[in-house]
Symmetry: C2
Subunit: 243 residues, 2 copies
């Protein structure tokens, strides 16, 4: 995979959330990145580990999660190409959660050292990355609301729409359908419900003609009903650099 393809999605994404100068883009394009391939369902960094690199997703889907004493797992966020899910490890060196692949994935590793140097050289880029971690944080806040206050069908609808909005930015939504490569077990872990209940909810949305979910692909059947159910307000994604 050529270097510009790897960085393309990142720059596309940064442009949406921050104003960014050409000079800074060149700096980012010059960043030394080492590429690694991971199979599906593999740990990239584990809870408790000490990270020395951040990873930029070049291709594939990832998820962050935490596992508690009784063995239950909670998925905290989903990640798509162009994102750096463990940017936080730059300053929080020991991981407090897992980062793993959902699908087979290509990741670009950027060393902490490289990033620190870039920040010293270009404080504006540092601010941009800071802003990126703050958006990450805003997404966690919305995730708390989702899991804490919405009934299960609304939770699923909300996660779907959030994912779609983010996929749109990198041009990965194909009409009424987009990828969401989670098993029902994982959907349950994301929504804070069991896999059995996740299945019930998926069936319900299908029977009501709202969305179809098949083989890791979502097809929206009734946009109106879906967005009403999801109660989605994308402001928390902070996609307007001017504001």
């Amino acid at each position: 995979m050529p270097s510009d393809v790897i960085r393309g999605a990142l720059i596309k994404r940064l442009r949406v959330s921050s104003a960014i100068a050409d000079e800074d883009i060149r700096e980012i394009e010059a960043l030394p990145i080492s590429v690694r391939h991971y199979p599906a369902e593999t740990a990239v960094v584990r809870d408790g580990e000490r990270a020395t690199d951040c990873c930029l997703i070049a291709d594939g889907f990832c998820a962050r999660s935490k596992t508690i004493a009784n063995g239950k797992r909670q998925i905290l966020s989903l990640h798509i190409p162009g994102e750096i899910p463990d940017l936080m490890s730059l300053f929080l060196h020991v991981m407090d959660h897992d980062l793993s692949t959902l699908t087979a994935a290509t990741l670009g590793l950027i060393s902490h050292e490289t990033l620190q140097k870039l920040h010293r050289r270009r404080p504006v880029v540092a601010e941009m990355f800071w802003r990126d971690t703050l958006i990450d944080s805003a997404m966690f806040r919305e995730w708390i609301v989702n899991v804490g206050q919405r009934p299960a069908p609304a939770r699923l609808a909300h996660v779907m729409i959030e994912l779609r909005e983010r996929l749109k930015i990198i041009g990965r939504v194909d009409g009424a359908s987009f990828e969401m490569p989670l098993t029902q077990e994982q959907i349950g872990e994301a929504l804070g419900i069991t896999a059995v209940h996740a299945n019930r909810v998926i069936r319900q949305l299908r029977e009501e003609g709202i969305v179809e979910l098949h083989r890791g692909r979502v097809t929206v059947l009734d946009e109106r009903k879906l967005s009403e159910l999801a109660d989605f307000d994308g402001r928390y994604l902070h996609q307007s650099p001017t504001l």
Copy 2:
């Protein structure tokens, strides 16, 4: 309230999470802060508003929350003296949630402009504040797990222990007891359950001789049982500057 008292808790807190030079402390002590008093249960900044200052809690308790379309509210975090709950507004100018007081509170307002200038002058301080927002983010992750995976009694126990650990840093734990000035309604909103169920859970913990909760004050009766129930691992608070 004298200026050094206002800044004291902040510096105490920053020392715990980051290594910090005397020179930088002096910079922070020189920050122009305007002090305001708020009654209990008052909005400080509202969802959708555009912030121009960050507020340092000098005294009192605050909470951040989001309210969804059906009127339900989710509390996202609790905040104590020494914290800057809306530091994120520095780069995410329009608020995606509410910040309000729980008790009567004294807040020190620091303008965004002042902070930006300080960051340009002392990048190390910027990194320290960045790290602070990342710890904030780590706390949201744990809150997701709490609301998503733990049964209600464990949720309550976990929130209590987290609050206690943070109060310890600023010397606000008095033996087996500490402040937690939430109504049962608010406890429900924090845990993602109804007030009625919150009451059930509180009663249960009292009947089992684990904790007593009375008038906004928690008294731990059985430390062993409490920490077993809470499944608490404080690593996510990232309180070790060396790591």
